[in-house]
């Protein structure tokens, strides 16, 4: 097995600082200037989406009371009907053999170590040379000491083959709606890799964009790929399907694409002119629908800010 690990140590206290910083970053300006690309990268402006103003309300998520958040969640679930399993009907996932072709190169297995010594498997995806998006519950686990102790990011893991090596990080961002309120509507995070471990330069990265119209998600063709635990967590599997709508407050969207534990943090993406744009981050399973945290304007702005702040060396 070829394995190359770059360690980023000593960041456990700094992550707390970064959580506070996230709140300030909510007001980062939006712009749609495309990043410089090369043959191995796909990037990230989405002009067809930059329409209108996606509400300043996105910036006040921390001000909802616990009761209000619970009510919003309850309404969202009722709207979308009963839910129980994450493989819906016949399992239609396909294995992505040798995932060394973009965009599958940009999808990563996450080997997560919590503060209390437990180990977990999740998925993430590059949106820049050093920025990996994932679910909030992959980096902040309320019942396991909060922020993960460390996460090893392994792009395009295929069995024991780590073609692009791996990088260990303990530097994350998440939303206080998740870290403080444990509200799945804010289940979102970014992992920042050390400047000496800009693996996204090798793998390429996803574009990302938002759309202000909720109806856009009523029948949107998307693809989801990640590292399901029922396949051992070391093989990339994926499936395409359509979205079925957003939850009542519009922060998540649903689909009938089959998933499994380990796929939290997978990109839910669309293809446009041979470019790949993440529309959401897979987070939850259910029987009738599975769910992603929607990339809204707020998250778009945050990610754009992370990319600017943490470029390749």
């Amino acid at each position: 097995m070829s394995k190359k690990t770059t360690s980023q140590a000593g960041k456990s206290t700094k992550t707390v600082t970064q959580k506070k910083k996230t709140e300030e970053d909510l007001f980062v300006e939006v712009f749609n200037e495309p990043e410089k690309t090369d043959e191995t990268t796909s990037e990230s402006y989405c002009p067809f989406d930059l329409l209108g103003d996606d509400e300043i309300q996105e910036a006040i998520y921390g001000s909802y009371s616990e009761t209000e958040l619970q009510e919003m969640n309850a309404k969202g679930e009722e709207e979308l009907g009963p839910i129980e399993e994450s493989v819906i009907g016949v399992d239609e996932r396909k294995r992505i053999n040798a995932p060394f072709k973009f965009p599958n190169t940009a999808i990563c297995s996450l080997q997560i170590a919590s503060q209390d010594g437990k180990r977990f498997i999740g998925t993430g995806f590059f949106v820049g040379p050093r920025v990996v998006l994932t679910a909030g519950h992959c980096v902040y686990m309320h019942d396991h000491g909060g922020w993960a102790k460390s996460i090893e990011v392994i792009p395009a893991l295929d069995g024991t083959t780590q073609k692009y090596g791996s990088a260990v990080s303990s530097f994350y961002y998440s939303l206080v709606g998740w870290t403080k309120n444990k509200n799945t509507e804010y289940d979102f995070a970014a992992i920042i890799l050390h400047e000496n471990a800009a693996l996204g330069q090798k793998t390429g990265w996803f574009g990302y964009c938002y759309h202000t119209d909720d109806k856009y998600f009523n029948n949107l063709a998307v693809t989801l790929a990640g590292y399901p635990g029922d396949k051992g967590g070391s093989q990339q599997w994926g499936m395409s399907g359509v979205t079925t709508g957003v939850t009542n407050n519009g922060r998540k969207f649903a689909y009938k694409i089959d998933t499994y534990g380990g796929q939290s943090g997978s990109p839910v993406y669309v293809v446009n002119n041979n470019s790949y744009y993440a529309k959401g981050i897979h987070t939850n399973g259910g029987s009738s629908y599975n769910y992603a945290t929607r990339i809204n304007k707020n998250i778009f702005d945050l990610v754009k800010g992370y990319k600017e702040k943490y470029p390749a060396k």
Binding site: I112, H137, P228, D230, G286
Partner: protein
């Protein structure tokens, strides 16, 4: 929720990948998988309520096993024992 993965002989399984495929009451669950330690122990992230769960356990030896478990709601402090066999898939 704590789980313990063992073989039919009662031997703990290290490195098993445990995830949920079903929870009670039409609930949703975070799709993060858990790895067992040398004692076969892992913690599955979900809300603990009474009812029927279905766990998926992947081991190198047996592949994937789908294991239904019905909990009364009174076992919260005890690990749920998940027995893997070649026949449970």
């Amino acid at each position: 929720m704590d789980v313990k993965v063992v073989t039919v002989e009662g031997e703990p399984v290290d490195g098993a990948v445990v995830s949920l495929s079903s929870v009670p009451n039409n609930g949703t669950f975070p799709e993060i998988a858990s790895l067992t330690d040398e004692q076969g122990l892992a913690n599955v992230i979900c809300e603990y309520v009474a009812g029927e769960y279905v766990f998926s356990v992947y081991t190198d030896q047996y592949g994937v096993s789908k294991i239904p478990v019905t909990l009364s709601g009174k076992e919260e402090d005890l690990p749920v024992i998940l027995i893997v066999t070649p026949e449970t898939e």
